[in-house]
Amino acid sequence: MAKQAVDYWSPIDAQKLTAWQKVYIKTKVLLRLCDQHKLQQSKMKSAHEAAAKARAASEAHAASKAKAQANAPVQLDPPLVRTADGSMKDVNECIVVPPAACSPRAVKKRGGRGKKKHVPVTEQQLQLVINGGRGGNGPKLHDHGFSLTKDGRVFCPLCPTVIDNVKNVKRHTIESATHKAAFERKMDAAVKLHHQSIKLVDKKAKGGQMSDDLMSYRFKALISAAKHNVPTDAMKGICADFVDEYSGHTFADSSDAVSLAAGPLLEALVLRIRQILSSDGCFWCNL
């Protein structure tokens, strides 16, 4: 299957592909292989085998469910706490958790804007620069992730910098050391993720667990991207690909796809932390 994965994009001249394109291709490969595997299995297996497998699967499911129940955290509801007056209360009645900063962003904005009157940059102007200028002979800037802000400025997500004049976009990619360093890091991360996806294909192929459900794939992609500190835009793309493909949803904004996956993943991570900390494996001091 790993060979298949390589064959998938080998007809295309790999030299011409950017690292991000390879990553996207790899994610597609995962999906396609998954589908193929399912199809092959359904064709090859006889009804008897399928029934046996279903029985085995149900047993395995029951066993895993029992195991999960056994492994469940000792206390699923937050424990009651003793307050200063000696009574036991729900902790949420006693504390006021400060409001977290979700979108709009809590992070401090960098820099300020000049007082000079700004002429808004249009989408066409930006696309012209990104596509290599007039005649398309200049460098292509697709991988740099430049985008337009609402007030008609060009935003560079790598640095991050806001560029008022579209003419400075090309200069920014060449002259800004910060941008160059960030771009290299992004490419490194892309390559890592690319290798990760190859490994994932191998692993899945060897383990014979190609029929993982959507959630698992989505999490794997998100986990891999988060671990390697992949930029936001790339992460949105990865999630949107999976979600669009399987759920039939078409998101107007690909960040919605991240939101869809991020919540359950965070919950899963927190649950895992809770299970570890309250597990029997930790040192309890009951003196």
Binding site: P98, S103, P160
Partner: protein
């Protein structure tokens, strides 16, 4: 429920973030640290909000009981102290021992030598100017890398020891390095804008060479005298069971202070600085002497012209002739007057008076110049009060005294915030098998070990009560026998972290690749081996095994949280302003904790299977 320690801190540098790391010991005797929460907030939290943030993480997120909250580790910020007070007031079950981060405190001690409140002002100024030179990539950095073979260390942020490293690097090879840097600036091998500050304050062709001389001396003192503090800080920033071995770090520092801050290269630096100072001082004395000479010369001219005037006046009297008086009328005797001669004399008098006036003005100007030069000299002497070799040596020693004093106030004085940590480290010696093996007789057990066991109360755990310590003391004789029988920590294999550390150290010091460094000099590895020594003996000495597992929950620094902020900054670099709270937390949890599969399998699944 698991006993746990909590490390928390916040950062205002790029976002208002608060992170909480839990420290627990597993039943397999592994010490693990897990990032439980990192929240981004719109504004800085006050103590009430911070206490809610901590309690929420413990109770709501981790589902742990407040009574098992054994210790906390944080820096000495007022809001942290307030938050803990608030949590304890609201929830009586929460009785954690408050441990203040020793590395932050030692870091603050270092600031007493060089920094805004430090004595080494010239070294501080020189470092800032140097930072301006190399702050941005350009000719200066390229030139430095070309000459010295590596890129210069840049220092930013609030940590003192980052700045110390920069000073240390400047001085590491030789004071020549400083002169090289200056000569680059003079030779315009770096950009004019970058080197402007350096040239203004340390140009060796002007009187600023005195500043350069002082910078050389102070840099030498800071580089050598603060080094033990920097080493202690880096050692204590580990996340192993350092409490078991921290006393050696503290004692090394105290020994350094007691020995009078050994700085062997200070004299060499003073010898290097003296000619520069002497040059400036001699130029001032020469200026004063020349101004004095000018005043004397002008005064002499005035005296001459005054004598001349006197002579001319007498001559005028003679030429004018005598006078006779009759009653009230006084008449000149016209017979003797020569009018032509009188006119000549009068002309000479007028000329002389004009010359006298100009000469007096010259005297005044010379005196003013003298006063200015003397004032400048006095000002210079005030600015550079240490001009002789002895004075410079004394100044060098004085730079380090506030550092030692601050350390004393915080660690060895009973009122110090970090004093309990030192006592705790001292008490933790009772778990060191090598220390135990040195107990020669029963008397030693009573006088030394029992005394240290009593100090365990400094941990502030409710478990360490009189009854427990009594039982602990009962185990001591047999434990000493066991330690005498087997206290060979060499046999214990070195940890993976130590091996990595050694490889890096060997590479940094350019040692042969097959060279091995003594693990006894590495506090982290030493502590880890003590911890491993105890693992097979946990059932034999139940009180000791319980105590050691509780004391390793105490951590000497809040570095685990600082590492989280480093990761957060990298995430921030990648995501820029598109940082949502949930994805930010996912990224942090995954990058700091990993996916926790191994931990989960080992602690949760395998344990259930095993049972």
């Amino acid at each position: 429920m698991a006993a746990f320690g909590v490390t928390f801190d916040g950062t205002p540098s790029f976002a208002e973030a608060e992170a909480i790391v839990f420290r627990v010991v597993t039943k397999d005797w592994e010490v693990i640290e897990i990032l439980v929460r990192c929240g981004l907030y719109r504004s800085k939290l006050n103590s009430d909000q911070l206490s809610s943030h901590i309690i929420d993480a413990i109770v709501n997120r981790a589902h742990l009981q407040l009574k098992n909250w054994m210790s906390t580790h944080q820096d000495r910020a007022r809001v942290n102290k307030g938050a803990l007070g608030e949590a304890k007031r609201k929830f009586p079950d929460a009785t954690p021992a408050e441990n203040y981060c020793t590395t932050h405190t030692i870091n603050n001690a270092g600031k007493k030598a060089m920094g805004d409140e430090g004595i080494a002002t010239f070294a501080h100024l020189f470092r800032k100017s140097w930072q301006a030179v190399i702050n941005t990539p350009g000719k200066a950095r390229d030139r430095y890398a070309e000459v010295f073979g590596h890129a210069p260390t840049t220092a930013s942020g609030v940590r003192f020891f980052v700045r110390y490293e920069q000073v240390s690097e400047l001085f590491e090879a030789t004071p020549e390095r400083i002169m090289d840097i200056i000569s680059w600036c003079v030779g315009r091998k770096v950009s004019e804008v970058s080197s402007k500050s350096m040239m203004l304050k340390f140009d060796p062709s002007t009187d600023a060479r005195a500043s350069l001389a002082m910078a050389i001396v102070e840099t030498a003192v800071v580089a050598e005298g603060v080094r033990p503090f920097a080493e202690a800080c880096y050692t204590l920033e580990g996340d192993s069971c350092l409490i078991l071995r921290a006393i050696s770090v503290f004692r090394r520092l105290e020994q350094f202070i007691e020995d009078g801050y050994s700085t062997p290269k200070l004299e060499e630096a003073v010898d290097r600085a003296m000619p520069l100072l002497v040059h400036v001082e001699s130029s001032y004395t020469a200026k004063v002497a020349s101004a004095n000479a000018a005043v004397e010369s002008a005064s002499g001219n005035v005296a001459e012209i005054e004598n001349e005037l006197k002579r001319l006046n007498e001559m005028k009297q003679q030429v004018q002739g005598g006078t006779s008086s009759r009653g009230r009328v006084r008449q000149s005797t016209e017979r003797t007057r020569d009018n032509n001669q009188l006119d000549n004399v009068l002309e000479q008098i007028v000329e002389a008076r004009v010359r006298e006036k100009s000469l007096k003005a010259a005297v005044k100007a010379a005196k003013d110049t003298l006063a200015k030069v003397v004032k400048a000299y006095d000002d210079w002497k005030t600015q550079y009060p240490h001009r002789t070799k002895i004075e410079l040596m004394d100044h060098g020693k004085n730079i380090l005294k506030p550092v030692g004093q601050y350390y004393h106030d915080q660690f060895t004085s009973e009122d110090g915030d970090c004093h309990p940590m030192r006592v705790m480290s001292e008490a933790a010696q009772i778990f060191n098998p090598i220390f135990l093996a040195k107990m020669s007789a029963d008397a030693d057990i009573v006088t030394v070990l029992h005394y240290l066991a009593d100090k365990l109360t400094a941990f502030g755990y409710r478990h360490f009560n009189d009854k427990f310590i009594k039982n602990l003391k009962k185990e001591m004789p047999s434990l000493v026998k066991e330690a005498k029988r087997d206290h060979d920590l060499d046999r214990i294999p070195s940890s993976r972290q130590y091996q990595t550390r050694m490889q890096k150290r060997i590479k940094r010091k350019n040692l042969p690749t097959d060279s091995s460094l003594d693990w006894r000099n590495d506090a982290g590895e030493y502590a880890q081996r003590i911890w491993k020594w105890w693992k097979p003996r946990k059932d034999k000495y139940p009180c000791h095994s319980l105590a050691i597992r509780l004391i390793v929950l105490a951590q000497l620094s809040s570095c685990s949280v600082e590492r989280v902020f480093s990761k957060l900054e990298k995430i921030r670099d990648v995501t820029s302003d598109n940082l949502k709270e949930d994805m930010c937390e996912i990224r942090l949890l995954l990058q700091v904790n990993g996916d926790m599969d191994d931990m989960y399998n080992e602690l949760v699944l395998n344990r259930v299977d095993g049972e």
